[in-house]
Structures are given as C-alpha cells and as structure tokens.
C-alpha cells in the first residue's frame, strides 16, 4: 500500500505534468477543441456503428456495470463489450493517466467520478460529447450532476450515479441513550457529547480525514474554494466563509475527541457500523448498498434523515462521490462508444442501475413512484428514497472541482491529515492544503491565485 501510495504521487505528478502541458495547448478557451468537429457523429452514424461487428472496452468498477453491459449486448448483439475493473478510484485513474500518457492502451469508455472529471477533460483526453448531440439530454439529469459534467462549455461525460448527502443513523443507539435526532450541526455536536459521555465506546461518527468528505462538507456550508476561469486560471480559497463554517463545527468534534479514530472503508469501520459504535454517517446516497453487504448484522437498525444544517430548517446538501462515463480520445470507435453511453446512462441503463442498488442521477428515475415508495427492509421498512431524493434537490449549486483534484486529494493526508492526527486546528490544515495545491498548480502551468 505504501509503495502504491508513493508511486501514485510520483506518477500522478509526472503524468499530470506532461498531460497538462500537452493538453493546455490543445484546449482553446471556447470549449470546443480544434479537432472536435471531426469527431462527432450524427444519430444515424451512431445507429450504424451499433449495428456493425465491433468490440468496445469499458473500464469501470461500479458493480452495476455488469448487468448494464449484459443488457446492452442483448440489445445490440453485434457489439461485444469488454468490461474491465482495473481498480477503484485512484488506482483506476493512475492506469487511465498511464494509458493517456503512453498514447495507447486506453479503453473506449471509462467510468470517471465527478471530482476527477476536470482533470481528464481539461487535459484533452476525453471526447467532447456535445459533438454527438449530448446537449439535448440536459433535462434528463439532475441539475447538480449535469453541472458536474459540463466544463468550460463542453460536455465530457454522461452522469450515472449521484451521491447527494444525507445522515444515516443508528436508531437503536439514539433510542437507548435517549438522544434526539440532530437536525442542525450544533445539535449534532451536542448529541456527540451526550453519546460519548453515556458510552465511552460510542462515537457520533468516525473521521480520520478524507479529502472527498472535506470538500463535500465545505460545499454544503456554501463554500466555493475552487473557481475556474477558462481552462488555465484557477483560484483556490480554502478559508472562505463556507470552509470556516465547517471547521467551526468539526473542530469542536475533533478537539473534544468525539470522532471515532477509525479510517473510513477499513474493516474496523464496517465493524463499527455493525456494532453501533459509529452512530451516524454523513455520506452520499449510494451508501445503503454498502451497509447491506458490509454491515449485514445491523439490519433493521439504520435509518436515514436529512443532513444536519447550519441554520435550522434551511435544507442544504452537497454531492459526495458519484460519477459518470466518458468516451476517451484514444477510442478508435467513438460513435459506438457514445452509443454505449446513450444506453448505459440513458433511461434503460439507469433503470438497471437503480434496480441494482445504485442511486440514479436521472430525474425520471428519481421521481418515479416505485422508486420513491420502495420500502427498505434493511432500514426497518423506511422509505429511504424519499429522504435521499429530497436531498438531491437540496444540493447547493455552483460548485466546481480543480483540474488537478486527484493530485490535490492525494496530498490531503500530508496537510489536513496532519491537523486530524495532532487534534490541531483544521483551519491550519486547510491553509497548508491550499498552499501545497496552489504550488502544484503553478508548476503545472496554471495561473493560480490564493486568498
């Protein structure tokens, strides 16, 4: 793991460097690349491509992709799809970067999360789907996910899943200690104190520092730490009002030892989710499937409530995770690849995706009665989607990620992570993260301003 980490850093740095230098030159400010017109295809061309003997390679780790690919192959028998899971998250991006840099070996279609999309889009490794008429699909997706795939006037992926945040909590734990369910962050901190006093083994939540969580929390608080102007000008401000709101709350939890010192996604974490020593999770709407497989023994104990807010009654959430599928520039078969996207991320694919435990980004699925009224046995019969769909409507608009977010996230543990480790002030951690991020951006040829 350690090796991998170090390699990742070096590789991301080295590869991103060469990518961006090459990419920036090719990216014009108008958002359409010089060669883009030649890459597009009409609906008739796409239909023809799907009716021709061909093989597509798709890289992705979402478990829902398997049934989607099966259904796609059944509908278009002439197209064969190689679905490859080459790793999760960063491992996958490193491989993708390597292939882009090497100039060969990239798949036709790749799963890319919203926070990594700018990096690949602005370095000119993805096809601008506008040339295939993706613009018309705008109304099929939620505003926040459509906003995430629109960069610099281009559309670089079609959304698949989304992760509007909510509060998952252990009803049994709150009941046992007679603590009411928090709706504001102040109440949340109070609940954390009460819970830990009542049972020293129990914590309101676990957090050892996670870049994705931090950015989502700042997003919910109304922060806009990353602003992009064209494709080369970036402003980083991790001390704006939103960021300070979040640290104001989280510092209290951190300094009073109210956070369980367990790393997210570790086996200890699943153990804590199973035995109730982690009482709440503030996380994306895709979590139920993970709870069901990773904390099966806690069936019937979990519930979902809206994410706590800073002002009582003013609903606000953020996206946490989620992503879409993009067509790689290297693809020799872009029309068929886009045809696959139309299926996988369109009405047919999103139904399969939702039926297999994914949380959709398509408005039709989010509004369907069947989806809203589904009662989850794991959640004690609660209609969880009502809460989660409402959350998708309450996402604070206007957020954007950096065009080198995966690198920024990789240095998070050296900066903000330090503050977590020493139980220090998160603001100092954020400042260090901001400076390190800005410095890297400058080295990559971006014009970076910081506050």
């Amino acid at each position: 793991m350690k090796n991998n980490h170090r390699f990742r850093r070096v590789a991301t740095a080295a590869l991103a460097a060469s990518l961006l230098v090459g990419g920036l030159a090719a990216c014009s400010g108008s958002g359409t690349t010089a060669s883009a017109g030649a890459e597009g295809a009409s609906a008739a061309d796409i239909a023809k491509a799907l009716d021709t003997e061909t093989t597509l390679t798709v890289w992705g780790w979402a478990p829902q992709l398997e049934p989607i690919v099966e259904a796609f192959e059944a509908k278009y028998p002439k197209v064969h799809v190689n679905l490859e899971n080459v790793g999760t998250g960063n491992a996958h991006y490193t491989k993708l970067q390597n292939a882009v840099k090497a100039g060969s070996g990239a798949p036709d279609v790749a799963q890319i999360e919203y926070n990594a999309l700018p990096q690949f889009a602005l370095s000119d490794s993805l096809v601008n789907l506008k040339d295939f008429g993706a613009e018309e699909l705008k109304d099929n997706y939620t505003a926040s996910t459509w906003g995430s795939v629109n960069l610099n006037g281009g559309v670089y992926a079609l959304p698949q899943d989304s992760g509007p945040m909510a509060m998952f909590y252990r009803a049994d734990v709150f009941e046992k200690h007679g603590i009411s369910i928090p709706t504001t962050w102040d109440e949340y901190v109070e609940a954390g104190k009460k819970l830990h006093a009542a049972d020293p083994k129990a914590y309101i939540t676990s957090d050892t520092g996670d870049a994705g969580f931090t950015t989502s929390m700042i997003w919910q608080a109304g922060g806009k730490p990353y602003t992009l102007d064209g494709s080369t000008k970036v402003a980083v401000d991790l001390q704006d009002e939103g960021a300070r709101k979040w640290t104001g709350t989280w510092n209290q939890l951190l300094k009073n030892d109210l956070l369980s010192p367990v790393t997210s996604w570790s086996d200890e974490w699943y153990k804590g989710l199973s035995d109730g020593s982690i009482a709440t999770l503030i996380i994306g709407a895709w979590m139920p499937a993970n709870l069901e497989s990773g904390a099966a023994s806690a069936s019937g104990q979990w519930r979902v409530a809206p994410m706590p807010t800073y002002e009582k009654g003013a609903a606000a959430t953020a996206e946490n995770g989620g992503g879409g599928d993009a067509v790689m520039k290297q693809s020799k078969n872009k029309a068929a690849a886009y045809g696959f996207l139309q299926f996988a991320n369109g009405p047919e694919g999103s139904k399969i995706h939702a039926a297999n435990g994914g949380f959709p980004s398509t408005t039709a699925d989010l509004q369907s009665e069947a989806f809203l009224n589904a009662e989850s046995a794991y959640f004690g019969g609660q209609k969880i989607n009502e809460v989660l769909v409402q959350a998708s409507k309450d996402v604070v608009p206007g957020w954007s990620y950096l065009p080198f977010q995966t690198y920024a996230n990789s240095i998070y543990s050296d900066t903000v992570g330090q503050a977590y480790g020493s139980k220090g002030d998160l603001n100092d951690g954020l400042k260090a993260w901001q400076d390190a991020t800005a410095k890297y951006g400058q080295q990559q040829g971006f014009t970076v301003t910081t506050k």
Binding site: F7, A11, W61, Y270
Partner: protein, 268 residues
C-alpha cells in the same frame, strides 16, 4: 527465539482462524480464536466459484508466471553467474559494476519506465509484460557468481577440458551439480518474489483475465471500499490463506536442498 516464532506465526494463525468465519462473525468476534459457525468449506467453495471462478484463473496465471518467470530467471542467473565466475574476458569488471548497481535499484523505481517502454512495444496487458521483467534477477546472478567461485574448483573444469568435454557439456553434467545448492537458493528467492509480485502486474495489466493472485485479491478487497460495492472480506481472507499454502509448501520442500548447501564444503 520464542518471541520471534510468535511474531512470525501469529499472522498465519490469524489467517487460518479467520478463514473459518462468515463475514458477519468476522466483525463480531475475537480475531485470534474460532467463533460462530465453522465456515471454512463454504468460504473455500465461495472463493473458488466467485465471479465464475476468477480465483482459479488467477491461480493458473500465477503458476504460469512463476514457472516461466522464476524458472527462467534462475536458469539465466545461473548461466551468467557461472560464466562470470569461471571465465575471463575483457570488460568483466564493467559487467561486475553494472550487476552490482542493478542489485541496488529497487524494482519499484523501474516500474514506470518499464511500463512506458513496454507500451511503446505494444506488450502491455499481455502475460509477457509480467514475465519478461521477472526474468532478470541481478541478485540471483550475483549469488551464483559468488557461489560458483567457491564451490566449482577450476581444476575440475581443466580436467574436463583435457578429456575433451565441451564447455556446455561440462556445465550441464558437472558444474550444475556442484552449483545445486546455490541454484536452489536462487530458485527459492525468485519463486517467492514472482509469487508475491504485485506492483509490476498492477500497472502492466488492465485485463483481469491475466491478473496474478496478488492483484486479483486486491481487486476483491477494493470492492469493500467502493460505493455500491459488495464487501467480501471472508473470501479475501480465505483467498489469501489459499494463496500462501503453495508457497509455504514450496519453501518446506526446497529447504532440504538448501540446507545441505549451507554445510557443504565445510569439511574438506
């Protein structure tokens, strides 16, 4: 000694114990003792059949990489080490310096350049991309070299030449037997290194059908860290357990030859 034994064996014991648990009891029981239903057979069946028997495919790949890669590496290292020890030729000192330098470079540092080079040649995502780099074992070469200097008397080679045997015949019929302990030692090292090779196949391969066990098991493990992924900790643990069984067996089997080499030549 006792402390060392505990330190070395405790993880193995943990692995054995937890291979017998279901996923639910993994999280709810004490790690170092058996608990709940005895699920070892179910876990083994689950491991071998999960995702259309992926595990068996990875096992076969690993065996292929070990037989061809480690076998080839040992053979090449033995030939070269012997040659350098027993023959004089111009530039020998230079070769010596290069080999010593190569011992000092960690494989990890070469991984990215190797990847880019192979990708130029169109070899990435093929079994060759794992096998070819593992054929090179500077450390093994160095070991055989030193060993050959000590254990193959030059007088024997001269006698063989007088009798009219060619160099290759001498090597295969006489020297190789004398080199056996050194050869086995190198084989042991390369087998273990190839069996546990993780990083190189991780970046070279993007098709799970060519994964070795290390990369494959890691991809199973990563499922638990993915939104919407299926956590299969019990299969990862059982799979890891099954993965180390052959290597422990190989070690115990090869050790006899190895030990005989340690004391060889101590009495003259």
């Amino acid at each position: 000694m006792g402390v060392m034994a505990v330190y070395a064996l405790l993880p193995l014991f943990w692995l054995l114990v937890n291979s017998t648990k279901t996923q639910t009891s993994l999280f709810s029981s004490f790690g170092l003792w058996f608990s709940g239903d005895f699920a070892l057979w179910d876990n083994i069946v689950g491991t071998l059949t999960y995702n259309d028997g992926e595990f068996l495919r990875w096992l076969a790949n690993t065996v292929l990489y070990v037989v061809v890669g480690a076998g080839g590496a040992t053979f090449l290292a033995t030939l070269a080490g012997y040659g350098l020890a027993k023959f004089d030729f111009p530039g020998k000192r230079g070769v010596f310096a290069v080999v010593l330098g190569a011992v000092a470079i960690p494989g990890t540092a070469l991984a990215v350049p190797t990847f880019l080079m192979f990708s130029q040649m169109g070899l990435t995502n093929t079994p060759w991309s794992v096998i070819i780099p593992s054929l090179i074992s500077p450390f093994g070469l160095y070991l055989v070299w030193i060993y050959a200097l000590e254990s193959v008397p030059t007088e024997v080679l001269e006698a063989a030449r007088m009798d009219g045997a060619g160099e290759f015949r001498t090597f295969f019929t006489i020297s190789l037997r004398m080199l056996a302990p050194g050869f086995i030692t190198v084989l042991l090292f390369t087998v273990v290194a190839t069996w546990n090779n993780y990083f190189l196949p991780l970046i070279m391969l993007s098709q799970s059908t060519w994964y070795p066990l290390t990369v494959g098991l890691n991809s199973w493990n990563a499922q638990a860290t993915t939104a919407g992924g299926e956590a299969i900790y019990n299969l990862v643990i059982t799979g890891s357990f099954l993965t180390i069984v052959p290597i422990v067996g190989a070690f115990l089997f090869l050790q006899r030859f190895w030990q005989s080499g340690l004391s060889a030549g101590s009495v003259k």
